[in-house]
């Protein structure tokens, strides 16, 4: 490969393998819910005086995320759609400005950089997107596409660039003869290879891959993943690999971070995370993947409900509204079985998925006729009376306030570290179950 082009951040190249290359510290990114000139004005008929209110709603896409990516590793970032993975990736690339927090690349705060120095640093950080089709200009030949970043960064002369482009095409598994073809002549997998060649052209240290294989068929996926791995070994690349598919993450990552509703819930070594998942969300996620083996244990973990809105996320642990292991509020003296029933009842009332209103029948159905004694029982009975009076909202609210909001899960943000069972890497879990 050609020698490293000199970079402005000379000396910073001294980052050794395994040392932190990218550090993300308390990064948050909030977006205004609506764009537009008057979006901060809203109409409220019931207000005193002027029926107009000011103030924007903010979508808290990423909230207080910190982690480190080490040189030479692949950090897998996994989460469901809308959890803020891509926003985080774009913030790391400084395509978006973080609302709060800092991102250090080779020890330099990216926010401090501007102009020429930012441009030079950008050369070391590249990105590959999900859709290989729309990230290639259909009117540009493949060779030119690969050369463009080099041109933008003033690398090599035109002959040198052409030679390098051909070399790279070969490296990513394409025929260098295809230098003069247009993207439409290539299949999806091959287009993603072109994207890889383009990203590699400026000799980056760090590549952010945002769902690079999720648009591809399985057999093609495997080809591209293998190539990405080979390239990583050859060029000493560091990947931040974003995907929603846990099988792919398991295949490619060294360490894995799990995101839910804008926050990291668990971060650990790959084997540790898959063999010893500790956060209930990670467990649910792992249990939901269909395993390609008909003799696998038939247990399918099913999470209740939908992801809440990031505009007004739940207090404390953001997963608590769907968590199957919500912790019993300390002030009630409930057995595990009783707490289980109370939560099930609370969930059904909130979802209003039954039509029964008779108090005795309800108590029979959800509590086996044995409503817990004491304070907790009184509140359950009151809620049952609300339902008998057909006031569902009051019942739901009463239960929420009496139980869900009293749990430690609703009151404190969790942040714990557990001893790993596999490997020696730190294993952080944002769940109050780890508080002892």
């Amino acid at each position: 490969m050609t020698e490293r082009a000199s970079s402005a951040s000379d000396g910073a190249d001294a980052v050794g393998f395994g040392e932190p290359l990218v550090e993300i510290q308390n990064v948050s990114k909030h977006f205004p819910n609506e764009e537009g000139m008057f979006s901060w004005l809203s109409f409220n008929r019931d207000a005193d005086g002027l029926p107009i209110e000011t103030g924007r709603e903010w979508v808290r896409a990423v909230e207080d995320v910190s982690f480190t990516i080490r040189k030479g590793e692949t950090l897998g970032l996994v989460g469901e759609s809308g959890c803020g993975k891509s926003t985080l990736a774009r913030t790391i690339l400084r395509l978006l400005e973080p609302t709060e927090g800092s991102i250090y690349f080779k020890g330099t705060d990216l926010a401090d950089l501007s102009g020429e120095r930012l441009r030079n640093t950008r050369k070391d950080i590249q990105m590959i997107f999900q859709d290989p089709q729309s990230s290639l200009d259909p009117r540009m030949k493949v060779g030119k596409i690969v050369e463009e970043p080099m041109q933008a960064h003033g690398m090599l002369d035109s002959e040198g660039r052409a030679a390098r482009a051909q070399e790279l095409l070969e490296k990513v598994g394409l025929d260098p003869q295809h230098y003069n073809r247009y993207p439409h002549a290539f299949s999806g997998g091959q287009r993603q290879r072109i994207n890889l060649a383009r990203a590699l052209s400026v000799n980056p240290d760090f590549i952010v891959c945002d769902e690079p294989v999720s648009a591809l068929d399985v057999s093609i996926q495997a080809q591209v993943l293998n190539t990405m791995r080979d390239l990583q070994k050859e060029f000493g690349l560091t990947y931040l690999f974003i995907a929603h598919d846990l099988s792919v993450i398991r295949h490619i990552s060294d360490r894995v971070a799990v995101m839910y509703l804008g926050q990291l819930v668990e971060l650990a070594d790959k084997q540790e995370l898959f063999e010893n998942p500790t956060h209930p969300y990670t467990q649910a996620l792992l249990d939901s993947i269909p395993v390609p083996d008909p003799r696998a244990d038939g247990h399918r973990g099913v999470l209740e409900g939908d992801v809440p809105s990031p505009i007004d996320p739940p207090s404390g642990c953001r997963f608590r509204t769907r968590c199957p292991e919500l912790i019993t509020p300390a002030e009630y003296d409930l057995t595990d079985a009783e707490w289980e029933r109370v939560r099930s009842f609370m969930r059904h009332v909130k979802r209003r998925d039954f039509t029964e209103t008779d108090p005795d029948a309800l108590s029979q159905r959800y509590f086996d006729g044995q409503i817990p004694s004491g304070d907790a029982g009184d509140k359950v009975s009151a809620a049952i009376d609300d339902i008998a009076a057909d006031d569902w909202d009051a019942a739901a609210e009463r239960l929420q306030n009496a139980f869900a909001e009293q749990s430690i899960c609703a009151r404190e943000e969790p942040d714990y570290e557990v001893d790993p069972e596999y490997g020696a890497d730190r294993h952080t879990v944002a769940c109050h179950l780890c508080r002892e």
């Binding site: 399985v218 996926q221 080809q223 269909p290 395993v291």
Partner: protein, 371 residues
């Protein structure tokens, strides 16, 4: 064994495009029995979706069903024969369009598509659409249909069903829209539901919710399913029997356990090898070499021979049918001449060099070749 609920026999669908005739589905046969969940699996471009839309005669121009016979509950949904002039025509046994629309579609056979947003009308409320569907197909009064619609929404797990009845599709999440479509499909208690990649666009946790719901509903209503998917994980979880498609043909047909543990076709095997596993760490993936050829110009002989690790000279000339290859205890069919059931020259035939340098040959769609 009782007669199958649905029988598809030698179905052929072709698309007449400017560039030539695309044989999207080329002579496939399979059946679905009562209460059974049959999978149709393959990569994109294999012809899965075209095959299932043909069952309901929903193939759109320039596509046409040019041959085959589809029978449902003893009635002929379609029968196409080739006349003496070479033109294909529907036989008289085929039930007329109007009758198919009124009696079969929605009532007897329902279909669920991948993208729920496209199947729901964005300018009508969710409940309204469901109510109308029930009203028309079940001859209920508006009042009763409304009640039934709310009941169905609750049944498929929509929270606060009565309140969400008046919401518009965009106010629902993807998973909930898919639930609405399932409610709509179930509303007439059809005997067969065709599900075309219904969970592909959904997150895994939502997918698990939907698969769970399907399990539960299938138990309750004993509905049969044809489930189209590309995900071997989903196949393993829910299917009773599986058909594997490659380039418009069925290459293997087996009960789900046999498909995974007694794989008989090299394509199925390669497909299973190339999937990363969620439950174990696989060091090196074994991708299938090359890309699927275009259906407009499929390879001669066995269509998979260009990418097959077991290919031999004989595979270039023989295009095997899908026939029983095991001892006959279970029904297990495969279309590969390496099996004894095919009396060919495979044994003595020299192996083919496949793979073309890691499989990255690019062929231009214009027909230019690179050899």
């Amino acid at each position: 064994m009782s007669a199958p609920l649905l029988r598809v026999d030698d179905l052929q669908v072709q698309f007449f495009t400017e560039d030539g005739v695309v044989r999207a589905v080329d002579g496939i046969s399979f059946d679905v029995r009562e209460g059974e969940l049959v999978g149709l699996v393959g990569e994109s471009g294999a012809g899965k979706s075209v095959a299932v839309s043909a069952i309901m005669r929903l193939v759109e121009s320039p596509g046409r069903i040019v041959g085959g016979h589809i029978e449902f509950k003893g009635e002929t949904l379609i029968e196409v024969e080739r006349g003496d002039d070479g033109e294909s025509y529907r036989t008289d046994a085929t039930i007329p369009d109007g009758e198919l629309r009124e009696r079969i579609r929605g009532r007897e056979i329902a279909i669920i598509f991948q993208d729920p947003m496209e199947s729901l009308n964005p300018v009508f409320t969710v409940g309204g659409q469901l109510r109308e569907f029930i009203e028309l197909n079940r001859d209920l009064s508006e009042e009763d249909a409304r009640e039934e619609a709310v009941r169905m929404l609750r049944e498929v797990g929509i929270p606060e069903a009565a309140a969400r009845y008046d919401d518009y599709p965009h106010q629902f999440s993807g998973g909930m829209r898919q639930r609405v479509l399932i409610a709509m499909a179930l509303a007439c208690e059809p005997a067969l539901i065709i599900a075309d990649e219904p969970t592909t666009a959904l997150d895994v946790t939502v997918e698990a919710q939907i698969l769970d719901l399907v399990d539960e509903l299938q138990e309750r209503y004993d509905t049969s399913f044809v489930w189209v998917t590309h995900d071997m994980g989903v196949v393993a979880e829910i299917c009773d029997r599986v058909n594997v498609m490659y380039l418009g043909e069925i290459v293997e047909q087996a009960p789900v356990d046999d498909l995974f543990y007694d794989t008989q076709h090299p394509y199925t095997e390669a497909l299973l090898d190339s999937v990363p596993r969620p439950d174990e760490t696989v060091e090196e993936l074994n991708p299938i070499k090359g890309v699927m050829p275009e259906a407009i110009n499929p390879p001669a002989g066995c269509r998979f021979h260009t990418r097959c690790p077991d290919a031999r000279e004989a595979c270039k000339t023989t295009n095997p049918d899908c026939r029983d290859v095991t001892d006959g205890v279970t029904e297990h069919r495969a279309a590969c001449i390496k099996h004894d059931a095919f009396e060919t020259t495979y044994e003595g035939s020299p192996p083919l060099e496949t793979g073309s340098g890691g499989g990255f040959d690019v062929s231009l769609s214009g027909g230019e070749t690179d050899d």
